[in-house]
């Protein structure tokens, strides 16, 4: 199930999605009348299935020409779809994404938030993080060419 928390800001309407995007999702109902500027925060989107992908594209494509769309804090589940489906962002801008890391010592998984402009500067060499559980180093944990594949398109 997907929830949406809405907040009006100077930048536009921020919608924070949380949960799973699947066949029961109803974006029209969750987001309501699309505002001129819509910012979709995807930090808490844990999972999206293929019918969810379809609903996502159908909805956000329908906003083209009506709303100025931006996505921010995209979770790994959303980044995977951005990489797998060329038109997943539906013409919207992308501000930032979560990047997955795994601790070399205790194998904990963690994520780090990166701005797209910074990632572009870094190429595919993201810095190591410090593990929040054991303090050892955590390294980027995915296939760089796949996880950052979208950078050439945004």
């Amino acid at each position: 199930m997907l929830n949406a928390a809405k907040e009006t800001t100077d930048q536009g309407l921020v919608v924070r999605l949380s949960g799973t995007i699947e066949e029961n999702v109803n974006f029209e109902q969750l987001i309501g009348t699309p505002p001129a500027k819509l910012i979709v925060n995807c930090k808490e989107v844990a999972r999206i299935n293929s019918v969810g992908v379809k609903a996502w594209i159908k909805y956000f494509q329908s906003l083209q020409g009506k709303s100025k769309l931006r996505f921010q804090e995209c979770s790994t589940a959303i980044v995977e779809q951005i990489n797998l489906i060329s038109n997943f962002l539906c013409g919207g801008g992308l501000d930032s994404i979560y990047v997955p890391f795994t601790c070399v010592s205790c194998k904990s998984q963690l994520v780090g938030l990166f701005k797209i402009e910074d990632l572009k500067k870094m190429g595919m060499n993201v810095p190591e993080l410090k593990c929040s559980k054991c303090g050892n180093k955590a390294v980027f944990d995915d296939i760089p060419e796949e996880y950052f594949g979208f950078l050439t398109r945004v």
Binding site: E23, A46, K58, T76, L84, N87, P100, T102, K107, I143
Partner: protein
Amino acid sequence: MSKSLVLYSNNPDDKIFAAEAAAVAHLNLEVKSDFIGVADALAAGEVGAVFCEIIDQAAFRKFEEAIQSRVGLFSDKVNGNHFHFLTDLDIEKTTFLLESPLFGNFVLRHYESPKADGQHYGRIVAASQTDRAFGLESIMKSKTQSVKLEWTTQKQDAVDAVRNYLLAAKFKARMATTVANAVDEILMNAMYDAPVDDLGKSIYQSTPRSTPMKLENKAAVQMEITYDGKYVAVSAIDLYGSVDKKKLLAHMAKSYQREEFRVRATHQGAGVGLGQVFRSGGSVLFSSEAGSRTEVTIMFRRLDMFREFKDQFRFLGTQFYF
């Protein structure tokens, strides 16, 4: 006399892999130095499995020509269920292979250990030697749990249950989510794509996937799950046996990384699900007996690093019975 596993490959790891698979499947390994050697072995009969390295389309065409010249591509001695193509190629670049009457089984040889991977895959080969490769117990040694779904609305609960089961089995969250998503796809296919009418036409093609339906009689759907400490395997089982091999393989190879994904209002299914399962590190095995049963099994190895998980040894297997 037992049957043979005929291998053609220039890759030393393939030989180790094939030798282990042959041992598990109780087949005699016969190594051939060219395609004609493979074709002649098929013509002579008593071949349980063919393992053939494919490096590109041109090589595959030569293989097809060899089979055609010595046996015939549509001969009774040629059964796609018994062909296993070992390759490093991306699945989206192998439509020439997936569309061939010789296909088969696609083995992405990202070996971690050709020996251990051969033992694992050997169970698939062993299952392919039986009358019908059905049931998780035929490919996994660990105990299988079975769940009968009564309503389509129970799908998300089943998917969440699988995810929690994997977290309890020490799968990392991102891996557990990837497997859960794969389970979601195979259950959805069993519920909404498998049902066909007497003419083989899809009943629910244009029915929204959120429509509650009772899963009873012919429409019954069952899920099986097992974990042997290394691999988790989950099957979705339906009683229609309606999988169209050609369409299925076209879906598996389809990529939307360059091409635009278009939403079709007439089809409620998305058609991106199973291809993504394979791309995310999962093996997929289809066993289908026309008109009576389809079992779609996904398998993932538990690994600590996601990078290794996504790049793991895997296969796309098809076992079709007509």
